[in-house]
């Protein structure tokens, strides 16, 4: 563990702790009210709010977008408090599920109209807990503290409605109003937590400690203490595993929560069984079945893979297609600059160079060859350089050829390297005459 790891993991851990604080408590309400998926639905509604804001060109990180999502959350809270009917025929979970699906679908439709934003929707699922900033954590902590204080002040009413709505109705409490307040405060929390931790993480933070502790005890204070302890432990473990095994943090913490819940349940089962041996036997039986099922899937996987290969031996995989693609695009062998340099630095014969000059196409390489030829044999070398003046397409190389030729002549005969061959006709003719005069008699 080095300093850097702590620097990265500490904010994430602090965020987890802040989340554990309020979510373990709210989770107990959620479980007792049997509205497990209300957080998903509210989070989706909040996201729909910021997506709508997006449509008006409001940046998702701005305060404007925040008010949008808060406004939508309050609307959602109103829907959920209205959908609770005393003698219900339709379970409230149905309404919640429906709201979730509708909000998600509308968000996609809105995003389709908005300038880019599919990424915005993806972000809601996994969140980005590793990048959380201290500022964000502090704001979240403040918001959660306010909500916590609010719930503490009115704990009698909230708890009564969650535990036993029938009595609340009979006592004449305005259940609808208090439901609305519950969902609004809940929505405040969810809007904040989902934007940093993502839906998946928030969901397990909410539900797992509540399930685990309700199984253990009926006392609220003990449930809370156990839930907080469990949350802290799991966050620490999950973040550590994510670091050690190099896995995305959010999903790792989620998986750790699942694992811890399973172990707790099995532990409780054994602990409470009258005959512990039989309980243990049942567990090992269950595990054996699990392993067998795993084995079936594994062998099935290899079987299907092999079958796929047999059915399409040639085009079985994209990989082989890609391989062909790369083979087609392999470049034909050409003389590399290094090879050429080696050749020129050796002891080439003039005839060799002349042959080479005529086969090579790269103008730079041709120039190098002509230059070397000039060093070896001024007569034929300057002939090819004059050929260069006339035919080379690159003014830079024409100028270089001219510079070399100028070493053996006193005039440039009015040649301008920036002009193409035809415009230099007179100068080239002069050069050719010069060459004839100088070398033809040799």
């Amino acid at each position: 563990m080095n300093v850097n790891m702590i620097e990265i993991m500490l904010p994430a851990f602090a965020e987890c702790l802040v989340l554990v604080g309020i979510h373990s408590y709210l989770g107990i309400h959620v479980i007792k009210r049997k509205v497990i998926f209300v957080d998903l639905a509210l989070a989706q509604i909040a996201a729909l709010g910021s997506t709508f804001a997006f449509l008006f060109g409001i940046d998702p990180s701005s305060t404007g977008a925040y008010w949008f999502s808060l406004g939508f959350t309050i609307l959602g809270a109103a829907i959920f408090s209205l959908s609770r009917i005393r003698h219900e025929k339709i379970p409230q979970e149905a309404v919640i599920g429906l709201v979730y699906a509708l909000a998600a679908a509308v968000a996609i439709l809105v995003v389709d109209r908005a300038p880019h934003g599919a990424e915005h929707i993806k972000e809601i699922m996994t969140g980005s807990i590793l990048w959380v900033q201290w500022k964000t954590i502090a704001t979240a902590a403040a918001v959660y503290a306010v909500v916590g204080a609010f719930h503490f002040a009115f704990r009698d009413k909230f708890l009564l409605i969650s535990n036993n709505p029938e009595i609340a109705y009979r006592k004449g409490i305005n259940v609808r109003l208090w439901d609305f307040l519950f969902y609004v405060s809940f929505g405040f929390v969810i809007t904040h937590s989902v934007s940093t931790a993502g839906v998946l993480l928030v969901f397990v933070f909410l539900v797992v400690p509540a399930i685990a502790t309700i199984m253990i005890t009926d006392k609220l204070w003990l449930q809370l203490v156990l839930g907080w302890g469990m949350g802290t432990l799991v966050s620490m473990l999950g973040l550590y595993v994510s670091y050690a095994a190099d896995l995305p943090s959010g999903p790792t913490v989620v998986a750790t929560y699942g694992l811890v819940l399973m172990t707790t349940t099995l532990g409780l089962y054994v602990f409470r069984a009258k005959r512990k041996i039989i309980a243990l036997r049942n567990i090992s039986l269950g595990m054996a079945v699990f392993i067998v099922i795993l084995g079936i899937f594994w062998s099935g996987g290899t079987f299907f893979k092999r079958q796929q290969l047999n059915e399409h031996p040639l085009e079985a995989t994209v990989e082989s297609h890609a391989k062909e693609f790369h083979e087609e695009n392999a470049n034909a062998a050409e003389l590399t600059d290094d090879q050429l340099q080696q050749l020129l630095n050796g002891k080439p014969l003039a005839g060799q160079l002349i042959n080479l000059y005529q086969t090579v196409e790269n103008p730079f390489q041709r120039f190098e060859i002509a230059h070397r030829l000039f060093d070896l044999d001024q007569k034929s070398g300057s002939k090819y350089l004059i050929d260069y003046l006339e035919n080379c397409q690159i003014p830079f190389l024409r100028q270089k050829a001219l510079d070399i030729l100028a070493l053996v002549s006193d005039s440039d005969f009015g040649y301008d390297a920036l002009k193409p061959g035809p415009q230099n006709q007179q100068a080239i003719a002069n050069w050719q005459n010069w060459w004839k005069k100088k070398y033809e008699n040799q």
Binding site: D112, E119, P248
Partner: protein
Amino acid sequence: MKKINLGLIVLFGLALVISLFAADQINVVTTLTTYADIARQIGGDKVEVKAIVAGDQDAHFVKPKPSYAVLLSKADLFVETGLDLELWAPTLIDKSGNPRIRSGQPGYVAAADGVKLLEVPSSLDRSQGDVHIYGNPHITTSPLNMKVVAQNISIGLSNVSPENADYFQTRLEEFQDKIDEKMFGGQLVQILGGETLGQLAQSGKLIPFLNSQTFQGKKLSEYLGGWMADMLPLRGKKLVTYHKNWIYFENLFGLEIVGHVEPKPGIPPSPKHVEELIQKIRRDDARVILAANYFDERKVREIAQKVKGVAVIVPLAVGGVPEVQNYFQLVDYWISHLIAAFSQAASS
């Protein structure tokens, strides 16, 4: 009676004009807006071009809509990258029921044909997650690649409309010359030619070459202009990019990308990755973070804040922000924003 007649004649005439125009134009559909822009620049008034992916959308992920299939069913020419970037394209072609634009038909253009690909994987298996198996498909970040793309599009247009081949060829040459000029400046293009400059630039030898050679008594580098000259102060500078979109740009302008924030699109990075990234950013002082504007802007800015860096958020394609309406403006936008960010990072 007279009035009606006049109205009818006008209407009829209008319909005739419209139908003439409609009949004349070649329907081109491209995946990316950048290809659409190039198709317009090559095709001029002979083409009617539409793009499927918006300029600020991620081309990896496009949700299919019925209108796309309708669009394609009427297309004479379809342009896609032809690598594994727009994986949804083949399905879309199938759905459109338009046999003319199937891969291998004259109406199909793979824009990346002949582009020298980078990051070609050495071993072809999928064990590394979603590696692009052909090489990096984000070819549009190098203006030099776009000369090849333009040629491919021009060939495609000439295939479906041979009578206009000369027209397309002229416009193609104009486009390629303009790229060269914007890239290296007119003077240097005149001296060395676009092709030579392109080869040198892509092999990374351009700047040493310009510094070591002279022309008419002056160093060649003094003739350099355009984007290449603008980016000279940033050569060798280190930066971080959000996703692997910028490799061709990096290669061309001699930048050094030391890491990516999110190597696999959509999957949050692991703590180890983040740790290594932050270490690299600190060690190399690579505090500029370049991201395409289809990623979550808030997240990019948060990350930049966290590493005390500067976020540069730019569109990856034409039309990604309102002021970028063609490819030249796009590259201008990238370069001016990068330069501003590096000077901001240096002064903070």
